[in-house]
Subunit: 764 residues, 2 copies
């Protein structure tokens, strides 16, 4: 199960779990599609898994080869980071004949519906080999089956196709497959939910029997067209041959790595984990123009309903924003596209709610896939009422913040005009309909919410949430200001469309008077929510000892953690990370020290917040520890797969994003806003250097930090000079500039040394 | 267990369960004391049970007599309503000898520390009889033992004493016992936690061996004094003899019945149940001057921690207010006495709470005995978090309403001056600190509460609660008005003491703008709380079928009823009953019909609300059915004894009060306010007549309703004329007046016929 996550490949359109050619549903093979969902009866709505066009089983001298068999002599599988290609090599002993089965597969990022698999069988003695390859439509589903009327056909002699439609919306999913082999394509046999080429041949000793599979997965509403597209794709791919496909794919990957790679010198383990994390993010980045986002378990299967959570904006978005803004655009367009779903949620969720209350678990329409009873209780076998859907209101503000951050960092306001400003205003509108004014305190309060720490539901004035809500009101104000100065007509149209003009003074009032839990004067600690300090202290071990079932959930309303200070994940610390420029170092340290021993890290989102804040106050050892925890989460795969009775295994793209954030924003100390990019390096002691790409205001930079200096290289195609502040000193970096700023003991010198004489940038 | 409730006796100072002379803790004998509480370790704080001074066991020819023995030939036990005296007669066959054991016991209402027991043993053949009688200090406790250092002593030759002190506060509890017997007092044997007289005698055939026991229970802080008081009491009682004690007791009871009896002609079952209900209320009415109240399970034991709930003000108080105002005064004084406890609760319970947040479960100090984890979960063996303590905020308003009602109906404002006005203002202050203003609605809201229906916790804008809160603000206003007109100095002092003057405009604003869920225009139904209509419908049977444990609790936050419309008890209907003059008949009918099938009646408080509202819209059959359910609850004793793992058996004085309310206020149609007493009779068809006493503005009346007329007889000692409105027509009733108003089909004629020529009252 977990290895299927670790070795998965994906291309934004689909994910293919790291399973082996001969595997089927019992081994959790899944071709998970982005953006297409289905629901069967009352079960959870989840992404659709396509028929598996990469299926191949091989029989040698009547013995079927399986990597799970007893006759395996040797097995190796490899995920190539360079171009996201999966390889396997398994050696079998078939009654004395040594058989080697090799294959490689990739999902093209230039032609996202296409997958290419190269298979090779070598026997050390002559042997009878039967190859069954084609499309397996025994589909592994958590809450399926999602495809009905599945039909296997053959076209143009040897192109196989399996096509079906979803239950809920009747959308078509078609998989086509074609093979290229010098021994022909055999006969077509469709049975047992497989549509196969069956090829029998006599293998010569030591001579590989090799063939290439091309499969394509297309979706659409038109029956014929959907299949035709898939068939045409594989036919064309076969015509062009695998080398051409691979070359285009590899070139595109090379470009991605040039942009996004982060190099760590002196720490191979960290380097591996971080590159793996970046690979994951790049593999699941939405296809350009798709306006899709990245689900919490990405494309690793159907866990978490394939839904998009706050994870995306808070943990993945920063990577794309700083390293690959074109993909950040897709993530935000997804929220623009689903704004109506958020409006529907507000209109139906609570009394008098207005504006945009984004789905806690967002799928294709933006309606909330999160159920009111979202966690199975293993003790009673019943579902627990959780308030994730109705009370985790920070989601709307998280989105508004990301939307505004995109403009701040890229300087590109086109998304605001495309619907981003509307998203921001509708989020503020929702909050204004949600908050209450406390007359005797003269303040607005945010009541009855769940903050990031989901073990404490329905709390009042959660520090994180209140900060986010207040920020949403502030952002609504500056958005209107920006539009009124720069796009007055667009603003007029937006106000007319939304009818929100009369509400703007209320937003401004709320921005000014929204209560945020204060920093305690004596301890420096911020109370996570009203009443938190009154709860009793408890350790995870103490609570575990009270469990009556090993998968018991600690939260909901009666969970063991609820009456205690034990929190699931960073909450105040997450707030300090998100709003790091607003709080002094002492506050960060005090809260980190207070909350860290009280945090279970029951969420994969927790460690990176602790890592990031630890870099802020200079505890680099702790930061490094949490960084590794974050960066290695999928590689080490020690996470829990069940919460209550709910399966939640799969990959952790938010942690992948958190690893990047910790490396670049944390240790690299990068902080960009509309004015400049600040860099305050604080590398872990074992890192000799850190090098990464950075996008800022549409221009590209390469930054290299070592113990002595920060080197900033501006892209030759950059269009403007930009301000960088290295350890407090400002520099202007013009196109093609290469600036090296000496630093000592974490402080930059007042002046930088320039490699380029032509540099126009000067220290200010 | 239940019979011990049915046959209990009490006198306000203590209760004695309806157990038999020879019983001990295994049979749940309890002498439960009013107003003295103790807590052992972390267990629940609960009332103290005293040593049992009424203990007697009898041995005949070496055979111990027990009503639970196999040799019982016949047993009868009787509770005499007339003077709250318990009697038993048991006939045993002891190896061929027929032995009759008779006893009677009463707890004096003129000398509340005193109990008197008369015992008689008769054998039909000569026999050896051994009588062991004295004080049994094997005490039955739910969460005890509460008395430590229990010591048995003997004084003045034959007066026995057992004395101990509570754990928590070290208060002394002493029980003294003395017997009067023509065969002497035998020898004193103190062993096995019993301090006994042991008398052995030869009984002659047919000749009773009779003796009288006097026991007294006193409490105090001084060791010697406490015992001395008890000893002096029994010594004096023995000197005066049982007949004198009984005569004084009986005379006092006769007076109570004269005041409070309700006669029903034509329906013996209803008569019995209603008299039983009134008896219960009169037995547990607080001792004059004690400023005690009546716990939810009265003095029937330690269930419900001996705590006073809203039950008292909402369900018992009306009986005393209308029939026995001197006792209503004690109930209210209890709330004045515990005001500081309510202030402490507000100060500690929530952020920024001020004023008086009365305890949900109030004991001697007014601090809340209700725990945050108040119900044991039989499935996990853990305690469930319930929000009874922190969210059932209507309690403060219930008290403010009762406080004001007392003044309205009695015209006596002395309680307001004694602290009642302070209670009212502090309750309003609490509410002002609790409510929120919704700027976009222009209304105050009451968020996050539990209404009467405890199966739905933490709801917003519960109709009942919002009405009560608004009423508290209104009452605060009229209280200040009243004081400013009539007691300006007292008002000044009160405002100075409380510093509340600046807050009064806020109270007035809240009174004017507090949101109350509206009557739906189409259906006439009021939504119990925001979101109630969205819940799914479910029957009790459906939920029972899902139970995984028979004592599973339906509420808390994850109970089976929570996501459904099934409610524990009357909530909107309770609101319509409490505020019956504010809503039209059609609204009462619509809500009754809507909510009635959705009500489990899992609380003994539910049936009488349905009965009362049914009388309002003329469904007398349903009203009668619910009346009997209420009135017979303790007689039939079919209630559940466990909720979760929590024992809650015991008597139901609130239901007793509800029975009286239904008879007099419901069927009798009595509604008194500061202007008049309105009577709109609507008797059940089988009732030929209903007759009851009524106190109004310090004067007394007797009202008799039959099918043809309403007869009102004013007490000869009345001091003023008062207005009565019979079926819409007003009459003035002067002292000693006897007015008969003919009615027909539930409507009064325009004029009444007077029996007394001297009557000065005339129809208006």
């Amino acid at each position: 199960m977990r290895r299927g996550n670790v070795y998965q490949i994906a291309n934004g359109h689909m994910g293919y779990r790291g399973t082996l050619d001969e595997f089927g549903p019992d081994e959790c093979v899944a071709v998970t599609l982005a953006g297409i969902f289905d629901r069967v009866g009352d079960a959870w709505r989840e992404p659709v898994n396509a028929p598996n066009g990469a299926y191949t089983s091989v029989e040698v001298d009547g013995v079927a080869l399986s990597a799970l068999g007893a006759n395996v002599v040797q097995h190796r599988q490899t995920l190539r980071f360079r171009n996201a290609e999966f390889e396997r090599e398994t050696v079998f002993d078939v009654n004395g004949t040594r058989v080697t089965l090799r294959s490689s597969r990739f999902l093209s990022i230039v032609q996202p519906s296409l997958g290419v698999v190269c298979v090779e069988v070598v026997c050390d003695k002559p042997a009878e080999v039967t190859i069954r390859t084609g499309i397996d439509f025994n589909i592994w589903d958590l809450n399926g089956p999602h495809l009905r009327e599945l039909a296997a056909t053959r076209r143009d002699g040897d192109v196989l196709c399996v096509e079906g439609r979803t239950h809920e919306s009747g959308r078509r999913v078609a998989v086509a497959e074609a093979i290229a082999a010098d021994f022909g394509t055999g006969t077509n046999v469709a049975s047992d939910k497989r549509n196969l080429h069956v090829i029998t041949l006599r293998a010569e000793a030591g001579r590989p029997c090799a063939f290439t599979k091309f499969f394509a997965v297309s979706t659409g509403d038109d029956k014929a067209a959907t299949a035709e597209v898939a068939i045409a794709t594989v036919t064309a791919a076969r015509r062009d041959g695998p080398d051409a496909q691979r070359a285009a794919h590899a070139a595109a990957w090379a470009d991605r790595w040039r942009r996004c790679d982060v190099a760590i010198e002196g720490d191979p383990a960290a380097q591996l984990a971080l590159r793996y994390s970046v690979l994951q993010l790049l593999m699941v980045a939405p296809v350009d123009g798709s306006a899709n986002s990245i689900p919490a378990r990405a494309l690793s299967g159907q866990a978490y309903k394939g839904a998009v959570f706050w994870d995306t904006e808070m943990f993945m978005f920063p990577f794309f924003l700083h390293a690959y803004p074109a993909k950040a655009v897709e993530l935000l367009r997804y929220r623009i596209r689903t704004l109506d779903g958020a409006r529907r949620k507000a209109a139906t969720e609570g009394p008098g709610y207005r504006g945009a209350f984004y789905a806690w678990e967002s799928q294709d329409t933006g309606d909330d896939a999160c159920t009111y009873f979202n966690i199975g209780d293993p003790i009673t076998g019943r579902e627990l009422r959780t308030h994730f859907r109705d009370k985790q209101v920070h989601i709307s503000g998280d989105i508004a913040i990301a939307m505004w951050r995109y403009f701040e960092v890229t300087g590109d306001d086109s998304l605001l005009l495309e619907g981003g400003a509307e998203v921001i205003l509708e989020c503020a509108r929702f909050y204004y309909s949600y908050i209450h004014f406390k007359k005797d305190r003269g303040l607005y309060e945010v009541l009855d919410v769940i903050g990031p720490d989901e073990y404490h539901e329905r709390v009042n004035n959660n520090a994180f949430t209140n900060m986010v809500v207040r920020e949403a009101f502030v952002i609504a104000g500056v958005t209107v200001d920006h539009l009124s100065r720069n796009h007055p007509e667009a603003l007029k149209a937006l106000l007319r469309k939304t009818g929100i003009a009369d509400e703007l003074p209320g937003f401004a009032d709320a921005a000014a008077r929204l209560y945020v839990p204060p920093v305690d004067k004596e301890t420096g600690v911020i109370e996570q929510f009203e009443g938190y300090f009154k709860l009793r202290d408890a350790t995870v071990e103490e609570l575990r000892a009270k469990m009556v079932h090993p998968n018991e959930y600690f939260g909901a309303s009666q969970g063991l953690a609820v009456p205690t200070k034990l929190i699931k994940q960073a909450d105040v610390v997450m707030m300090l990370s998100l709003f790091k420029s607003r709080f002094p170092t002492a506050t960060k340290r005090a809260n980190w020290l207070y909350y860290e021993p009280r945090t279970e890290h029951g969420s994969s989102l927790s460690a990176c917040a602790y890592a990031l804040v630890a870099t802020e106050f200079g505890d680099l050892d702790s930061a490094y520890r949490y960084f590794l925890k974050t960066a290695e989460i999928d590689l080490k795969a020690r996470y829990k797969s069940y919460v209550g009775t709910t399966f939640m295994g799969g990959s952790h793209p938010a942690a992948n994003g958190g690893a990047w954030m910790t490396a670049v924003l944390g240790f690299g100390g990068v902080q960009a806003d509309d004015r400049h990019v600040a860099i305050e390096p604080r590398l872990p002691s074992k890192w000799n250097a850190l090098e990464f790409g950075l996008d800022y205001k549409g221009d590209r930079f390469r930054v290299r930090i070592d113990g002595k200096s920060v080197a900033i290289t501006a892209g030759p195609a950059n269009r403007a000079a930009h301000t960088f502040t290295v350890s407090g000193t400002e520099f202007t970096v013009a196109p093609a500039d290469a600036l090296t700023v000496p630093i000592e003991a974490g402080r930059a010198f007042a002046a930088g040394n320039r490699e380029s004489e032509a540099a126009s940038s000067t220290p200010k």
